[in-house]
Amino acid sequence: MHQIYQFVGGPLVWFSLLVFIAGTIHQIHQFFTDFSKKKTIPQYQPPGFKKQPSIGWFSKNAITTRIALIKQWFSRENRIRNMAMFRATNVFGIHPVFSWATLIFHVCLVITPLFVLAHNLLLDEALGISLFSWSETLTDSMTVVLLMCGAYFLYRRFFVRRVRAITSFYDYVMLFIAVAPFLTGFMAYHQIYDYQTMVILHILAGELMLIAIPYTKFAHMIYFFLQRLCVASEYSFGKGNRTW
């Protein structure tokens, strides 16, 4: 048992981290090379069109106009209209429960492991550096919250018609891989079942997840941000001319 622990908690950790980092770099590289195509978007120019000189971002005129626009946006009539627009067009308005569940799920998924006390102790032991830790009560609660969101996703996969339509066995496996580190970490922390076995399973589950990120549907962690950066004017620098 001890030897298994040494192997799983030693070389395998570095291996999975290596796959995770190298794979992420590989995917980012792919996105910016010939694999993703740059679209040329033709710009329509009316005949006789001359580009107006810019009034500048910080000129007095520009600033007063902007303040007036913001005031108008928040005026009483507009608040009602804005609310209706939000309900109709924003994903938080269309699917409030699902959107909040997925937001909370992902925040817990990414943040919790960084601040788990045991993780930072092990990091400190191995490298002599670590992040600060949050209280174990807090990380434990976040784990429970994540598991509940995971259960909600499972419910959705089973019972919501449109989700069922595109669900395959692969989706259940991936959902399981995503929550397994948390399930096993929770069981280890509460000493449910044999602690040693649970910790080994936990480490294995964590490593599996890390390895899976660049090359399975978890790659959305990378593409989500790359893509968002390239969408025209959606809080980004992009011109919207890159797709794959």
């Binding site: 792919q30 694999f35 993703s36 994903v91 269309i94 699917h95 997925t102 919501v160 018609r161 449109r162 989700v163 069922r164 339509a165 595109i166 669900t167 395959s168 989706d171 090359y215 399975t216 549907k217 790659a219 959305h220 593409y223 989500f224 790359l226 893509q227 968002r228 390239c230 969408v231 797709t243 794959w244």
Partner: protein, 127 residues
Amino acid sequence: MTEQKSIEINPKTIQSLLDDKKAQIQTALNVCAHCTLCAESCFLFMTRDQDPKYMPSYKFINSIGTLYKKKARIDLDTLNTIKDIVWKDCVLCTRCYCPMGIDIPAMIAHARKICRSQGVVHEFDNA
């Protein structure tokens, strides 16, 4: 229909057309989280009682996805099903939006191209 039966499928053409966009198809199928968030962005989904078969992700997974998985081993029946999906259920208006950035219309358009290469096309005058 009798004419269609005589169509010979040419696996080589299908394969080479798939290879043309291999990386894009692979990534699209891989990255799709099967989250169904793209559903509301398709007007056909919204106006057809939210029938899942009009969901953009459903359409590209069951057209280009099937082609990609079966590679050249596809039979005429499957090709005909794909034909119905890519011509009858999607108008390629390119309005669908995927938060992961999957270019769904490009995938469906490519499935149309592959069908076309095999002579399996939607007959508008018989519709």
